[in-house]
Structure formats: C-alpha cells, structure tokens
C-alpha cells in the first residue's frame, strides 16, 4: 500500500486501514517507521478535538470491564470510541497474551467502537511513541473519545498520564489497609479516583475506602488550580456510578477549557512528546552506531569481569558514539 492510501483510508474511517496504520506505527522496521511518521504528520491537522482518557489500576481492578460498560454507554450517546490497551507484560519468550477484549464482549462488536490491544514487544520506551501516534490515527479516523487502558505497575501509568486529558485511577476497597499498597505517585497523577466493585456486600467497604482516599488526597498539593480530584465509587457490573464519572470528565473538561488549562496541558504534552522522541531516538542511534556496536560486547564483558569500572566504560561508549556520529546520522 502507498503512503497516501493509508492517509486516505484513515480519514475515510476504514477499519482495516486504521488497523494497518497502527501496525506500521508499532513496527520495529525503520522503513515502516518512516512511512508511519509521514502518515501521522499528515493526519495531525485532523486531530485535537477528541477527549483523551487514561485508565489505570492494578490487574483485576476491573479496567477492561469498566471500559466495556462505559464504552457502551458512550456509543449509545452516539460517540465513537477507540480503546487502546497497553499491557507491558510478556512471557519469557517475548510473546504477549492480550486478553482485554474478552471482557469487552459487546463493545468489541459495536460499529462505533475500535479496540486495539498492543503487545509490549520489549522495546525501549517504545510505548510512549506508539501510543501517542496511535491516538492521533484514531482521532483522525473520527473517534471522538480515546480511552487508553494501562496496568498500574511500573512506568506505564506515568507515560499514559502525560498523553491524556483526564486520568482515571481505579481502586479496590480492601480491609482498611488499602492505602499502604498503592504508590503515592499514582494518586498524584489522578484526575479522579474511583473505587470499583462497589456492589453487593462491597458497597460499605467502598464507602469507607472513599473516605480514606479523600483524606489521602487532601495531603497532596493539587497539580491544577481549578481542579481537585474527587473520589467516587462505581461498579462496572451494576453500572452504578459510571455516569457520574462521565459527568465528572465532562465537568473537568469544561473547567480546563474555560480556564485555558487544557490548551496549556496540550502544549506541555507536545513538548513531552518531543522530548520522548528525542530520548528514544538517541538510544536508538546509540545502539545502531557502528563504532559502539563493534566495541560493545567487549566492553560489556570487561565490566562484568570487573576489569573496567562502569563509569570508565560508559564514558568510553559515549565517546565511541560521538566519534562515529556522522556515519550513523540519519541512517534510519
């Protein structure tokens, strides 16, 4: 397929071509990435209006189930919803199992929905670039709500929070000690915390947990002047509270838009994006650098054996990289 066919196909909302374009973005081949870059650049002017929502929480908290319920509700209101599921786990062999769609039985059949789980692939920091670019493709294909599901372990939640308008953290009510387990960092990223599975016997626990989290949030310095993150309860199964969260998202958006914070946020995210690309590119160039490539195995061995110290070795590698810079420059 020609580059223009991808661009036209995405703008024409062709599901297969949207999918193929995402594959190009995720590809490890430089030739594919080049085409992807051109496509994303051409699509960029057709984006910017969608509501971008990030959802995180520990495995099993109910993210996928929540997205099924929430997504169906949005589709009913004539929204077009794209769901990107980023799961950084993979088996020893490097293969991943992507099972989020098993929980999205009905949403996955809706004409107005598009759900794409992404394998981790083990690339260095690749999640950032790929997810951002995939969001652009989905927006250009007319999806007005983009939901990114990410597991709340490791770095992925910080990454995802830096590319969405609204970051929802799902939590579970525990036996009183719920606050000990979570990282303070995750709370700082949240625009709203929702205690999920507030149904059946769990309703009372959820209410208690809500109060605990409200106290915890009060101790944090808010990151926005006009928004203090509320703590809500919901059930992805009975649908209680799902609409309240949507109203909260809309309210958040209205406030951020009128105060100019949304524009600020997106400007800052554009910069974040640029820096992430620079960092990824530098690492990539380092490994592709012929001078580095030649000496790397020996230097690694030497450090392992304790012959060379780590600081000397790092200096040497960076020196080699600088020496060979012109050869690898723009190589692909």
């Amino acid at each position: 397929m020609q580059t223009q066919e991808y661009i036209d196909g995405v703008l024409a909302k062709n599901r297969r071509i949207v999918a193929k374009t995402i594959t190009l973005i995720e590809s490890s081949l430089p030739s594919h990435q080049d085409i992807a870059k051109t496509i994303v650049d051409a699509l960029l002017p057709h984006t910017g209006k969608a509501v971008r929502i990030g959802i995180t929480g520990v495995p099993g908290v109910g993210k996928s189930t929540y997205i099924e319920s929430f997504g169906l509700q949005l589709v009913k209101q004539s929204h077009r919803v794209a769901v990107l599921a980023v799961d950084p786990s993979s088996s020893k062999s490097g293969g991943s199992i992507m099972g989020d769609k098993t929980r999205m039985e009905r949403l996955s059949l809706e004409q107005q929905a598009f759900i794409r789980p992404s394998p981790s692939g083990g690339t260095l920091g690749g999640v950032t670039r790929r997810t951002r670019e995939t969001m652009i493709v989905c927006e250009a294909a007319g999806f007005d709500i983009i939901i990114v599901e990410t597991v709340g372990v490791g770095q992925s939640e910080t990454t995802v929070a830096s590319m969405v308008d609204f970051f929802l953290v799902l939590m579970l009510a525990g036996a009183g000690d719920e606050l000990q387990g979570i990282k303070k960092g995750v709370l700082e990223l949240a625009d709203t915390i929702a205690i999920n599975k507030a149904d059946g016997n769990n309703i009372e626990h959820a209410r208690k947990a809500k109060i605990e989290y409200e106290k915890a949030l009060n101790l944090l310095t808010p990151s926005s002047k006009i928004w203090s993150p509320p703590v809500l309860t919901c059930s992805a199964v009975t649908l209680d509270g799902i609409d309240e969260i949507w109203q909260t998202i809309l309210d958040h958006r209205k406030k951020l838009e009128s105060s100019g914070e949304l524009a600020d946020k997106r400007r800052k995210q554009a910069l974040d994006w640029m820096w992430a690309l620079v960092e990824e590119g530098l690492i990539d160039r380092f490994y592709k650098n012929p001078g580095v490539g030649k000496s790397l195995p020996n230097i690694v061995k030497s450090v392992e054996k304790g012959i060379t110290g780590p600081t000397v070795a790092a200096h040497k590698l960076l020196y080699l990289h600088d020496l060979c810079f012109s050869e690898s420059d723009y190589e692909g």
Binding site: I22, G95, S108, G121
Partner: protein, 143 residues
C-alpha cells in the same frame, strides 16, 4: 531451523512478532482449551489475542482485522467447523482480509480435510494442542 530462529527471522522481516487470534466460536464453554492454546502460542513467541467467548465468524473476522493478526486459530467443538470455516473465509474476503491465515484444531474427521482446506483453511491440527511440528508448519506458511 529452530522455532526461535524462525520467529526471529519473522520479526526481522515483518517488524513484529507473528500475531495470532485465538477465537472461541460456538455456544459451548471450552474456555480451558482455548486458554491453554493461547498460552502455548505466547510461550512459543507469538503475540496472542484472545477473543470473547461465543464469538461468531463475523465477530472473529472483525477482531482479526482490527487487531491486524496474521493468523486466526479456533477449535472445532460442536462439529460445525465446515460452516464456521466457510463463514469466516467469506467474512474475511468481504473486508479484503483474505490474506489472514486460518488454523483449525479439535476433533476434525479426516474426511472433512479436503473440504475445509478448499474452503480456505491453511492448516489443521488434529488435537486441541500445538506441538513443535505444528508451529513449524505454521511459520513455514510465511516463508
């Protein structure tokens, strides 16, 4: 060539791992076998998508296209593999996605082999598991 090497070669050529959708079609519960198959593929080095239970052929085709997989794999449980294969092939063709390979496993009588091969199946497993030989044959489809 070892399977690992074949997969490495695949990744070098395609820019990603072979991606397979393991789909549960039909009404009966056979989640166990499907899950196990998915795990085996992932451990072999495939990226594996699992679909919701009780998928239709059309739903499976759509998910395969949306996730852009190379292969669809399903187990025949209710002895309706003939219809499923035909519907699946038709659904893929309607979306210009007939290049997606189809792998069918389960209890499939020898006498059905010709029929389902000509209906568009690329490989048949005569069980609900995969072994080295089956994976090798599957990867060879892409050589």
């Amino acid at each position: 060539m070892l399977i690992d090497q074949k997969i490495e070669k695949f990744v070098k050529r395609e820019g990603r791992r072979p991606r397979i959708l393991v789909s549960s079609m039909g009404k009966k519960r056979h989640n166990q076998d499907t899950r196990l198959l998915a795990t085996l593929f992932a451990e072999t080095g495939f990226d594996v998508d699992i679909g919701p239970l009780h998928q239709t052929a059309r739903g499976t085709a759509r998910m395969a296209i949306e996730n852009d997989v190379h292969i669809i794999c399903f187990l025949s449980i209710e002895n309706n593999h003939k219809e499923l294969v035909m519907e699946l092939a038709r659904a893929l063709k309607a979306e210009q996605a007939e290049n997606i390979r189809i792998l069918v496993g389960g209890a499939i009588p020898r006498s059905d082999y010709d029929f389902i091969y000509s209906a568009g199946v690329d490989q048949i497993l005569n069980s609900v598991r995969i072994d080295k030989e089956a994976v090798n044959r599957l990867l060879d489809l892409f050589e």
